[in-house]
C-alpha cells in the first residue's frame, strides 16, 4: 500500500483510506469501506472546485472514528489556503462522514464541492488473491435524494446507499454541492453511507443484529464500559501502562458479532484481512486475555460449539466434532468458490476448544457452561481420536481433502513452506506437527478434570488420563531429536522427523507434554542464540536451511507465539527465561506505540536496535493484541488455585513496580502487586 493508511473499524465494518480520507482502491489493495467481507466503497474522493485536497493532519480519535484536516491544492503550494476542509468520520452500523468547510477569506467564495463515489463490491478474497472478475451485475441509481451503488448476482444483493443531510446533486459518479460561502462562513454536511445485505424483497438480512447501538454515543459509552470493566494496570514504566491501554481498546475494536449468536461478541482475528471468526485465533486470544476480559471466552466457546462439525463435507473439510477454522460472509463463500461457510481446515482448534473451556472454568467457576457443553466436548475428543488420526498411530495429522481451495498446512504456521526437514525439503502428507500433539495431551488432561468434577463420569476421566499418559510417553520417545536435544517440528507419514529447531517447542512446555528431565534443554534452546533474537523467539532457528529473518513462519518473531512460549517456560518453573521473553516483546511493543504487529523480523536485536515490522502484517491483530496481557499474567504468576487467585510475581528488575487491580474471577475481584527483582542475564544474540 503506498503511503500510510488510516483505519477505523467496528466489528467487521471498516474503512481503510489515505491520509486525506480519500479512497482510491485498486483491485488488489484492501482500501475502501468494507462490511461482511465485501467492499462497499472503492472510490471516495473529495474535490473542491475540481482540486484534490491535501492533508495537514489526521487524528484517529477512537478506533471507530477519525478526523482529517485538509486544504485545497497540492502539497507544494498550500500556503495560500483560504479554505479549510475537515472530514470527520465514524463507523458503527453505517459509515458517516461530516464535511465542514470554512472560508477564512474576507471575501465570499463560490465552491463546487464534489465527492466521487463508486463501489466494485469486491470480495475480500478477490482482493487478497488479486483476481477480481465479477460474475454479477453492478448498477448505479442516482435519485434526487440518494445514490445507490449496487451489485446483484442471482438472489445475492449488496447495496451501498448514500444520503446527505443537506441537499446534494446525485449523479452516476457521485454527488456534489454548489456553495456560496460568505466571509468567515462555515458550511456543514453529514453524509451517511449504509451497507445493505439485501434478501429477496429488499429486506436487510442483518437487521437488528448488533452488539451495541449504531450511534457514536452508544459506541463511546460501550468503550467506556469495556475499559471500566477490565482490570486497571498501573506501572512505573509508563510504556507498559500505555501498551495495556492500547491493547484493551484494540480488543474492543476487534470484537465481532457473528450473524448466528444474537448480539454477543467474540474476538475477530485482525484488520484488514481477518475481520471474522477464526477457531484458532479466537481461542488463543481468549486464553491470552482471560484474566482481563473473561466474557469473550464464554461467547467464543458458545459460538464455536454451535458451529461444531456434524457431518463429513470434503469441500469444507468438516467432520463430526471438528471445531471450525474460519467463517466468511462474502460472495466467494456464498457461491462456494471458497469453502468458508464455515471452513473446518485446522487441526488445533478442536483440542484448543477443550483447553479453553477448562481454563475458563478455572477462572470463572462457570460450571453451567461446562455441563452445557459436555456433548460438544465428547464429540471433540472423538474427533481427536478417530478422524484426526490419519496414520493410525495415535497422533493428530492433517492432509487436506479440498485440494483446490483448502489449506495445505492446517496448523498455526499455515504457509506452504513452514514445515521442513533440516535440509530444507518439505515432507509429504499427511503431516503431524508437534505443538498440536501437545494441545491434544493438554486437552485430555483437562477434559479428565471436567469429566470427574462436572460430568460425573470418573471412568471416562481415568480413561482420558491413561490416554494422555500414553501419548506423553510415546511422544517423548518418537519426537525427540537426539542430536539436537529438542522435539521435532513435525513427523512425516513414515515417522521420519522434521528435525528443525523451532518455536513450537515452547508450546510443548505450555501444554505440559514435555518430560520434566528434558525441560531444561528446551528452556535453554528458547532463550539461546539460535532461537532468541533479543526481542523474542524466532519461529525457526538461525542455522536451519529455510531460516530467513523475514520468512513468514521461517524466522520472523510472532508476539502471540512468544506469549505462549513465556507461559510455557513459567509453567515449568523457568521464571527467568519467561521474564526474558516477556521483556523482549514488551520492549518491542514500545516501537509500535503499544500495538504489536502480527510479526516482526528475526534480526538480532544488537544489529537493528529496533524491531523491523513484517511487510504485510495485519494490524491490529487479535492475538498480537492479547500477547502483552498474557505476558503480564505470566510475569505476575497469576494462577487460579482451588477457587483462589494465586499471585507469584517474577519480574525483571527493569519493570519496576506493577499493580493489576480488580482481576475478575470466581473470587470476585482481586488485586495483584509486583516489583521487579529478577536480574536477567544476557540471552540470545
Amino acid at each position: 500500500m503506498p503511503g500510510n493508511t488510516v483505519r477505523i473499524l467496528d466489528g467487521n465494518t471498516f474503512v481503510v483510506s489515505a491520509e486525506s480520507g480519500d479512497i482510491e482502491a485498486t483491485p488488489n489493495e484492501p482500501t475502501g469501506l468494507f462490511s461482511l467481507d465485501t467492499r462497499f466503497l472503492s472510490t471516495w474522493v473529495l474535490t473542491v472546485n475540481g482540486e484534490r485536497l491535501n492533508p495537514l493532519s489526521y487524528d484517529d480519535l477512537q478506533y471507530y472514528e477519525a478526523r482529517f484536516f485538509l486544504v485545497p491544492g497540492a502539497a507544494t503550494h498550500y500556503v495560500d489556503a483560504k479554505l479549510s476542509v475537515v472530514r470527520e468520520r465514524a463507523v458503527g452500523g453505517s459509515f458517516r462522514e461530516t464535511l465542514t468547510i470554512l472560508n477564512h477569506d474576507e471575501n465570499p467564495v463560490e465552491l463546487e464541492v464534489r465527492m466521487a463515489a463508486a463501489a466494485d463490491f469486491a470480495d475480500l478474497f478477490e482482493i487478497k488473491d488479486d483476481r477480481l472478475s465479477k460474475q454479477g451485475e453492478i448498477y448505479t441509481e442516482a435519485e434526487s435524494d440518494r445514490l445507490r451503488l449496487g451489485y446483484r448476482r442471482g438472489n445475492f444483493r449488496r447495496e451501498t446507499m448514500i444520503t446527505s443531510s443537506v441537499p446534494a446533486q446525485f449523479d452516476q459518479g457521485g454527488f456534489a454541492y454548489t456553495l456560496h460561502l460568505a466571509a468567515n462562513e462555515q458550511w456543514v454536511a453529514e453524509i451517511d453511507v449504509r451497507t445493505l445485505t439485501l434478501g429477496p424483497g429488499g429486506r436487510d438480512l442483518r437487521r437488528g443484529l448488533r452488539a451495541h447501538g449504531d450511534e457514536r454515543l452508544a459506541l463511546e459509552q460501550d468503550l467506556k464500559e469495556w475499559i471500566a470493566n477490565a482490570p486497571q494496570v498501573n506501572s512505573e514504566r509508563e510504556d507498559l501502562t500505555a501498551t495495556y491501554r492500547r491493547c484493551l481498546v484494540d480488543l474492543a475494536a476487534l470484537r465481532f458479532v457473528p450473524f448466528s449468536l444474537g448480539g454477543a461478541a467474540l474476538p475477530a482475528a485482525g484488520l484488514p484481512w481477518f475481520m471474522t471468526m477464526f477457531g484458532r485465533d479466537s481461542i488463543l486470544t481468549c486464553l491470552q486475555v482471560l484474566p482481563f476480559t473473561p466474557e469473550l471466552s464464554k461467547t467464543t466457546l458458545q459460538i464455536l460449539a454451535a458451529l461444531q462439525g456434524t457431518r463429513f463435507d470434503d469441500f469444507r473439510e468438516e467432520d463430526p466434532g471438528r471445531i471450525l477454522h474460519e467463517m466468511r460472509y462474502g460472495e466467494t463463500a456464498a457461491f462456494e468458490e471458497q469453502p468458508h461457510s464455515p471452513y473446518y481446515g485446522s487441526v488445533d482448534a478442536t483440542p484448543l476448544f477443550l483447553v479453553l473451556l477448562d481454563e475458563y472454568e478455572r477462572w470463572s467457576g462457570d460450571a453451567d457452561l461446562v455441563r452445557a457443553l459436555q456433548v460438544e466436548c465428547r464429540a471433540a475428543l472423538k474427533w481427536i481420536d478417530d478422524y484426526a488420526d490419519l496414520v493410525g498411530n495415535g497422533y493428530i495429522w492433517y492432509e487436506r481433502r479440498n485440494t483446490d481451495t483448502g489449506l495445505e498446512n492446517q496448523c498455526w504456521k499455515d504457509s506452504w513452506d513452514s514445515i521442513s526437514y533440516r535440509d530444507g525439503t518439505l515432507p509429504p502428507f499427511p503431516r503431524a506437527t508437534c505443538e498440536v500433539q501437545g494441545y491434544a495431551y493438554d486437552a485430555k488432561v483437562r477434559a479428565a478434570r471436567l469429566a470427574r468434577e462436572f460430568w460425573d463420569d470418573p471412568a471416562f476421566a481415568e480413561q482420558l488420563e491413561r490416554e494422555a499418559a500414553d501419548l506423553k510417553e510415546r511422544f517423548n520417545r518418537e519426537w525427540w531429536v537426539e542430536d539436537g536435544g529438542y522435539y521435532a517440528l513435525a513427523l512425516d507419514p513414515d515417522g521420519r522427523q522434521c528435525d528443525v529447531l523451532s518455536s513450537n517447542i515452547g508450546h510443548l512446555l505450555w501444554s505440559g507434554i514435555v518430560a520434566d528431565e528434558r525441560a531444561p534443554r528446551i528452556a535453554e534452546h528458547l532463550v539461546g542464540p539460535r532461537l532468541f533474537s533479543g526481542w523474542g523467539v524466532r519461529t525457526l532457528a538461525k542455522g536451519e536451511a529455510r531460516y530467513n529473518p523475514i520468512g513468514y513462519h521461517n524466522g520472523t518473531i510472532w508476539p502471540f507465539d512468544n506469549s505462549f512460549v513465556a507461559w510455557g517456560l513459567r509453567k515449568y518453573g523457568f521464571a527467568e527465561e519467561a521474564a526474558t521473553v516477556a521483556s523482549g516483546i514488551l520492549d518491542a511493543a514500545r516501537y509500535f506505540d503499544g500495538r504489536l504487529p502480527e510479526a516482526f523480523g528475526g534480526y538480532p536485536r544488537e544489529l537493528t536496535k529496533f524491531p523491523v515490522e513484517y511487510p504485510t502484517a495485519c494490524t491490529p491483530q487479535a492475538w498480537s493484541t492479547g500477547a502483552p496481557l498474557l505476558l503480564l499474567r505470566t510475569m505476575l504468576g497469576l494462577e487460579p488455585h482451588q477457587g483462589h487467585l494465586v499471585v507469584e510475581p517474577r519480574l525483571p528488575a527493569g519493570m519496576g513496580r506493577i499493580e493489576v487491580l480488580d482481576i475478575p474471577g470466581r473470587w470476585g475481584r482481586v488485586d495483584a502487586f509486583a516489583r521487579g527483582r529478577l536480574d536477567l542475564r544476557q540471552h540470545g544474540d
Partner: protein, 123 residues
C-alpha cells in the same frame, strides 16, 4: 420431486430426540414457496425432542426457500449456510435457530471423509 423433503421431515419426527438440539426449546417453520403457493413444515423442539407437523403457525424462526432448494438440502447436495449467504434462503426471527437446525441436514453424499494413509476409511 419432494421425496427427500418428505423423508427428511418424517425422519426428524421419528427420531424423537436429537442430541444436537438438546439445549434448544423453540419452534421453527419452513416455508416452501412455489409461485403463489407456500407449503409449511412446522418443527417443535423441546430440549432436543422433535415433533413435526404441517401447521402454519407462528414460530421463533421462519426459514423461507424454494421446494427445489429444500430437496437439495435434504439430500446433502446443497449447503444451508452458503444458501443463506447467497440469499436463496431467508431467515426471519432468531438466526441462531437456523444455524442449529441447519446441522440436521446430511453431508454431501460425494464426500469421502478423512482417509487413513493405508486407504482404510476412518468413518
Amino acid at each position: 420431486m419432494s421425496e427427500a423433503t418428505t423423508a427428511f421431515f418424517k425422519d426428524l419426527d421419528r427420531r424423537g430426540c436429537e442430541p444436537l438440539l438438546m439445549k434448544i426449546t423453540a419452534t421453527v417453520r419452513f416455508d416452501l414457496h412455489e409461485g403463489a403457493h407456500t407449503s409449511h413444515w412446522f418443527v417443535r423442539i423441546d430440549r432436543g425432542q422433535l415433533r413435526v407437523s404441517r401447521e402454519d403457525r407462528a414460530a421463533d424462526a421462519v426459514i423461507g426457500l424454494s421446494p427445489e432448494l429444500f430437496e437439495e438440502l435434504a439430500a446433502g447436495r446443497e449447503h444451508g449456510i452458503a444458501a443463506s449467504l447467497r440469499g436463496d434462503l431467508t431467515v426471519s426471527g432468531d438466526p441462531r435457530l437456523f444455524v442449529q437446525v441447519e446441522r440436521l441436514f446430511p453431508g454431501d453424499p460425494r464426500s469421502r471423509g478423512p482417509r487413513r494413509v493405508v486407504e482404510r476409511e476412518v468413518r
